[in-house]
């Protein structure tokens, strides 16, 4: 059987896609030079003055830097914790349900918010959390006064985390549910024979059974810790809550495209990307080593 090499055809198939990847993925990398320049758009990269690491030094000295880093990590980590607890709890709940047809309906509905954009959700949320909104009606009935949720530095991160959980818990719950159904049923039967009640079975069979999945999901999330949710926060925040709600990405956007400090914006953005890259790399290596999870 003649083994003709099809490589040429494979290269041809990849060509159009690679062209786009090179243009929009590789070429912008050269733009990182802006981070080392006192960049003026009219002069372009070739005409702007080189300032070495000045932009980076300036970045480390800014008070803003500590604030946005703290906010990013605070919101990200809170989200990660809640995005394990709530979906796992929901998955366990769904798993214990004995009504198969309702199970399917529940899954369908909780999964829906994942597909709505943050623009839409922010529009709804800002209305619901307004002084006359639904939430404040309840709050007023219970406590007598209204809370300015989206204007308070205390409440804003909480709103961000909770609304993100609301949006994404269905998606994650289904992943955990898939892991739950993969647990060997004979383990449950053995536990039943040994006299285990519902809770004991959950503690000794179910949780250990999905622990690998939980660990895997958490590990993969490590690489995303610097992405606290630009789309969401950009649509929900306002100057009143910059103190607690400004994250790296929103900050880069403002100083770059609104204040035109291109050099600084590129410096911050590139550094974030670099750290993120290292974290993703580490997390994938960990996942591959301990959970045999390979993305390619």
């Amino acid at each position: 059987m003649g083994k003709k090499s099809h490589s040429l055809h494979y290269h041809l198939m990849l060509a159009p896609g690679m062209a786009f990847i090179i243009v929009f993925g590789i070429v912008p990398l050269f733009g990182i030079a802006i981070a080392f320049q006192d960049f003026i758009p009219v002069k372009g990269i070739t005409g702007s003055r080189w300032v070495g690491f000045d932009n980076f030094v300036y970045m480390f000295q800014l008070d803003d830097s500590k604030r946005i880093l703290f906010n990013t990590l605070y919101i990200s980590i809170l989200k990660m914790i809640m995005q394990i607890i709530v979906p796992v709890g929901t998955a366990l709940l769904l798993h214990e349900l004995v009504f198969p047809r309702m199970k399917k309906w529940f899954q369908t509905i909780i999964y829906l918010p994942h597909f709505l954009s943050w623009v839409i959700l922010a529009g709804i949320l800002t209305d619901m959390l307004s002084a006359q909104g639904l939430v404040n009606k309840v709050v007023q009935a219970l406590f007598g006064e209204t809370v300015f949720f989206l204007g308070s530095n205390f409440w804003f991160p909480i709103v961000v985390v909770l609304s993100d959980v609301w949006k994404e818990f269905g998606f994650n719950a289904i992943i955990f549910l898939a892991a739950l159904t993969a647990i060997n049923p004979s383990l449950y039967e053995a536990a039943e024979i040994d006299g285990a009640g519902r809770l004991r079975k959950m503690w000794s069979v179910t949780l250990p059974g999905i622990m690998p999945t939980i660990v895997l999901v958490t590990t993969l999330n490590i690489g995303q810790v610097l992405n606290a949710g630009f789309d969401q926060i950009y649509n929900l925040y306002n100057p009143l809550v910059y103190q607690s709600g400004d994250i790296i990405d929103t900050y880069v956007y403002r100083i770059g495209l609104v204040q035109y400090q291109f050099g600084l914006a590129t410096a911050v953005g590139s550094l974030k990307s670099l750290v993120g890259f290292i974290l993703i790399f580490i997390s994938y290596r960990l996942a591959a080593k301990y959970a045999n999870y390979r993305i390619f």
Binding site: L14, F20, I21, I110, V119, F148, K272
Partner: protein, 292 residues
């Protein structure tokens, strides 16, 4: 599911059911609310009387929306980007995933390509350089600015690549015996077999196009060129951000019902296709996650 058919229903089962019901209703609550708001009378809404059900039921907000030609302009732009972008994503995802699924023995440069695209997925120069590339290509204010930068959905390519890899070798070997070249193999053998996976990733890319607002915001200068989500963002969300003069309310109350109607209409396409394609949406989650 090893559930014996005649298991007796215990009280805890009912409690669990109610708990799940509560959670599900919580998911629907904001959606029900916005629909009710859109169907309510203007003054009742401004006065804050609307809770879960419409007050002063009226279709007026939707009628008013019909006269807003900018809404429909933006809607059209979004439809355009979904169609064009969807087709581009569909074609490029398949074209790239197929050769990358080949082993090194069949395709020597495979690893090089994979490393390159993974690298671009994980590391980039940030917003400014990307914006400048798009600008220098003169794509600003064209539909191509919305469809070309995201032409290759790298994550989907990897998902589909793994799917192709898991396809049974016997079928492709039989096709080779029948004299199929690589293009024939792709079009007549591999792709048809992978149709569910392809449908799923295409669906996800379509939803992403529909929901995208940021690229429309920074890459389009003319108001007639912005997609729907960007339009909603400017109309509904932006005023909240910029009008922080009065601390108590950030909302233009007289516009409440009109905004609600536009939000509902923007949600409708997703809500409509969702029940029909639910199977594909759910497959999408596990396509790339739980691995053995």
């Amino acid at each position: 599911m090893l559930l014996s058919a005649k298991r007796r229903i215990k009280p805890t089962d009912i409690v669990l059911l109610l708990a799940m019901l509560a959670i599900t209703l919580l998911c629907l609550l904001p959606l029900v609310y916005i629909v009710s708001l859109s169907l309510s009378g203007k003054s009742a809404a401004a006065a804050g009387l609307v809770t879960l059900f419409p007050v002063d039921f009226t279709f007026y907000s939707y009628q008013y929306m019909l006269s807003d030609h900018r809404f429909f302009e933006a809607f059209g732009v979004s439809v355009e980007r979904v169609v064009i972008g969807g087709i581009i994503n569909f074609a490029l995802t398949i074209l790239m995933a197929f050769p990358l699924a080949k082993e090194r023995s069949e395709f020597k440069s495979r690893n090089v390509y994979v490393w390159i695209i993974i690298f671009t997925m994980m590391f980039n120069g940030g917003l400014i350089p990307w914006y400048m590339v798009v600008k220098n290509l003169h794509l600003i204010d064209t539909i191509w600015a919305l469809t070309l930068p995201g032409a290759v959905p790298v994550f989907n390519v990897i998902l589909l690549m793994n799917f192709f890899r898991n396809q049974p070798k016997e079928i492709s070997e039989a096709a080779v015996v029948d004299g199929a070249g690589p293009w024939r193999m792709l079009v007549s053998v591999a792709a048809p077999l992978a149709l569910p996976a392809i449908a799923t990733v295409t669906l996800f890319s379509i939803v992403n196009h529909w929901n995208a607002f940021f690229d429309g915001m920074i890459l389009m200068n003319k108001q007639s060129n912005i997609p729907l989500q960007t339009y909603i963002q400017q109309l509904v969300v932006q005023p909240v951000i910029s009008s922080t003069t009065r601390a108590e309310d950030l909302i233009n109350f007289s516009q409440r019902t009109f905004n609600a109607a536009k939000i509902v209409v923007t949600m409708v396409p997703i809500l409509v296709i969702y029940p029909f394609l639910q199977k594909y949406f759910v497959t999408g989650i596990t396509l790339g996650s739980v691995k053995e």
